[in-house]
Symmetry: C3
Subunit: 397 residues, 3 copies
């Protein structure tokens, strides 16, 4: 096992990529070798845990999380990823503190940065806001580090914003690499990222955006499908087109789940909100027009209801490659007859792939830990090599 791990570390060193003193915010702002490096780093960390070799890199230090939306999976993945490396985590609870926009974002970023290696942020509720907020935190840390108010430069890791959900998309990519036996095996595989009906409204757009913006980079044939009006924002779509072109893959958009599923190796059916609804919701929330918010929800749900046929059924699955496409989901899924009456996916389909979705999620803590390693060290491969050399047990056998 150790020999294999050492080989992977050498490969990582040969990529020679680091994000030292930077952040991990959007996959499409990073070059492909960097993404490969982060993924390989995650894999090495998984191998180390399986080999019971300690991955503790920091003797002390903090990882801070800020969640501006509910979260189980990502919150836990962030804490696990930090803990893997030896960081104690703390959640900045905005209700017991005084974080706000304006002056104090800048200030608070530094206040929580003094002894922190990483600040993980989820801010996905409002289009046009989440990424901007993360940039503001990042710039504040940058300034305080430059001006020696901070001894070091904590990294910002995007735990889901309005544009991207990179820890999810990278964990999904790790799952595919694992499932097919390597990143290079993904070339020519067809993945269908499609909208699906859900009895709720207002789910973020960042998952489908993250998927099309990432999977197009590895030679995959990516098909996006959604009902009219459920468009994604431009930036990741443009990135997807550009990447497909560069990687020899493809990116196309179609108008039905059925068409998208045709011959697909992988399907990713998931609900999201129409851009227009999200924009209006942001406007109403800012203006505190709560009465109109209820009205908007009613209309949005009524509109959603027109597309109940966008459900990943056994029938639709039959149209995929050999009828056996791999089903993916970021969880929790709206499963028909399980978590709701009519949802994104039929019970029997979900149940068949349920444990696969758990395995998919299982990569996230390692992806996050690898992002921390790559943003906090100039030579992450040397840090990993140091762990193998030390060969300290993670726990007694």
């Amino acid at each position: 096992m150790t020999t294999e791990i050492r080989q992977k570390i050498e490969k990582l060193a040969s990529l020679s990529k680091t994000l030292e003193n930077g952040d991990f915010l959007l996959t499409w702002k990073n070059d492909e070798p960097t993404l490969r490096a982060v993924l390989l780093g995650a894999q090495i960390l998984e191998d180390l845990v399986k080999a019971n070799i300690s991955t503790r890199v920091f003797d002390t230090g903090l990882g801070i999380s800020i969640f501006r939306d509910k979260s189980t999976r990502t919150r836990y993945a962030f804490r696990s990823g930090c803990n893997l490396l030896g960081l104690m985590t703390e959640e900045m609870d905005e209700s017991t503190s005084q974080i706000a926009h304006g002056e104090t974002v800048r200030e608070t970023a530094t206040m929580i940065g003094f002894l922190s290696e990483v600040i993980g942020i989820r801010d996905d509720m409002f289009l046009g806001e989440g990424h901007a907020y993360m940039k503001e935190v990042s710039h504040s840390l940058e300034e305080s580090y430059r001006e020696k108010a901070l001894n070091h430069r904590p990294a910002v890791v995007n735990l889901q914003c309005d544009l991207d959900h990179p820890t999810q998309a990278m964990a999904d990519l790790a799952h595919l690499a694992d499932y097919y036996g390597g990143l290079d095996k993904l070339r020519g595989k067809k993945i269908a990222m499609t909208w699906a009906y859900s009895p709720s409204y207002g789910k973020p757009l960042s998952v489908p955006q993250g998927i099309v913006g990432l999977m197009t980079r590895f030679g995959m044939d990516v098909t996006l499908a959604h009902p009219e009006g459920y468009d994604l924002v431009d930036e990741p779509l443009e990135a997807a087109r550009r990447f497909a072109n560069e990687s020899g893959g493809s990116f196309k958009q179609v108008g039905s789940m059925k068409e998208a599923f045709e011959g697909a190796d992988i399907v990713y059916p998931k609900s999201w909100a129409p851009v227009a609804v999200m924009n209006e919701r942001t406007r109403l929330l800012r203006a505190r027009e709560t009465a109109k918010l209820g009205e908007l929800e009613k209309q949005a749900l009524a509109n959603n209801a027109k597309f109940k046929s966008w459900e990943c059924t056994e029938d639709l699955m039959k149209g995929t490659k050999d009828g056996k496409a791999l089903y993916m989901h970021c969880l929790p899924a709206d499963v028909t007859d399980v978590s709701c009456k009519e949802g994104e996916v039929a019970k029997s389909v979900f149940e068949r792939y349920r444990l696969d979705t758990y395995r998919e999620a299982g990569h996230k803590p390692f992806v996050i830990a690898s992002m921390i390693l790559h943003t906090r060290f100039g030579k992450p491969w040397d840090v990993l090599k140091g762990l193998v050399d030390a060969n300290k047990s993670r726990r007694p056998r």
Copy 2:
């Protein structure tokens, strides 16, 4: 000191008991040597702390807690127990996540299990639910481990359910063993577990159930007393009768505190709710009939008020063995003229034993840590021996 600790570890090895890859849910589902092993493990951990020898077993790893009811003592004890072994703790706050019954219990169990060694759960509010919920979490972890969605099998530790409060009962047992100089000195000792009046209603039944289900195993004479209608559930009562029979102790029920106290070496007066009230409460809560809940509370309090004479007074204490029975309580107690006007125990009685109740509580972190050791390792004695051999200081002297 180290010699003595090594002897205890050898004794533990000779018991040769482990719960590897299992849970700790109900004391009465474990055989007696296993309980002796867990208790001895706790004692060894206490000795190590006193000898300033590090008890850190895990280099990294998480302990997750889920509290569905308020808690100070047990929450803190769980965190301390985890910390003792090197685990970072995290509380799963259901208000900021999406845990619920059905699909997501199964899912969430795995999501929080990826890098966790233990999941501690308190779910004691509804009769018929808490233990069932813990079993569901346990089965989900089991399945995910079997299907390789989890690399290891986190243990579930019961931090109080509707049936048992094993970390409390075991800490109480540790206190008695400490007080009388060993588990074997408990043979023939008379303990009175009695209901007591409290100005509140709806306290769980799990403490008295845990006490009668555990103390009967060590040859003690256990007497249970409560007003009519304040019965406990059958399972622990049947266990108590069976164990008393097997251990050469006894188990009987009487109708007054006075009779129960007669000649008792130990008294444990504590309020709990009538089964019928708890069942009706569960039904109303499920049906969301809040108006009727208020009515139920009123009736229950009125009924409680008939039994204000069930107070552990100096007068009643005089009837115990030499008038000097050891008073026990899981805390917080309703102390007359201190925390309420009329409560479970007279101020002077409580004050005399107050520091003893603190000592009683002090065993809980070690009991929990021992449960973690026994569920997570095949040879917990070897793990403990490794700590003594390493002889690392817990803190500088």
Copy 3:
């Protein structure tokens, strides 16, 4: 670097001051060498972090915080300070537990003390209460330790009470020592601690009290200024007068910001509430007279509004020493045209010193860690020497 650190440790040893098995509650109850020792300890810890030498002293152990008021900076500083030394932190959330006054303060102190090295408390809302509460916790820990219900004696560290805010004042002092090149360079420096207008009411008095009670000990010329009626409580004022006398500094009170700023080397303009308002507020809160609370707030705000001219403007800054006094603030400041329309300080003044206020805040985690070292060890210098000798990396380079 290491040579310099060793020299500082020798100097610390020569002071030979420890607070072993005690608390850190009020600066003015400690002698001057002890304060110098705590400050030097903080400096050594900062040096160790900069030299990338591990400051981990505890292998396991807990630091508990209790916040009875909102906090970002101090909460984070406490957690960082604990983490620096290897302690896992936990916040005692009173809403999910049952802490209250009376019996349970005493009880809870012990319950959270079993494996804790330090309990940090913020209780600054009610005059006459915060310090008293901390003393009660301290006495309970003391009793339980004496009676062997606790194996050790956790320290209580004041994270802001009604009388003092010692972690802030000591961090401020560290900032000044850093800025001027040593504690001894502060002799003869003039500091103006002045009230300033804020659009809120009810800010604690502990910061100005902490400043006048501490800065007078190092030969500084301390001037306090506030509008009529905004007096501070007597204890710290008396201490300030006594210390000024002893140290060869001075302490005087004047009636305007302008007069206080005249020739000042340092200015500290900050809002606080009038004693009379705070007392009345405490009375009304205890009596649960919420209607009258609103009335009180209205009156207090109206009264505040009479003193809007108490703003630290460019014009007022011109009157300070060479027009270049160092501006200080505990943050967050009410900055005119940034966080409010009319506030404590003009935007351009604040912006010029903003990064200095960040540096000021950056000392707090180290001050707290030093307080823990001094309360938990008989020879903190030996503990620090042990760290330099071990020379373990804090993180890979």
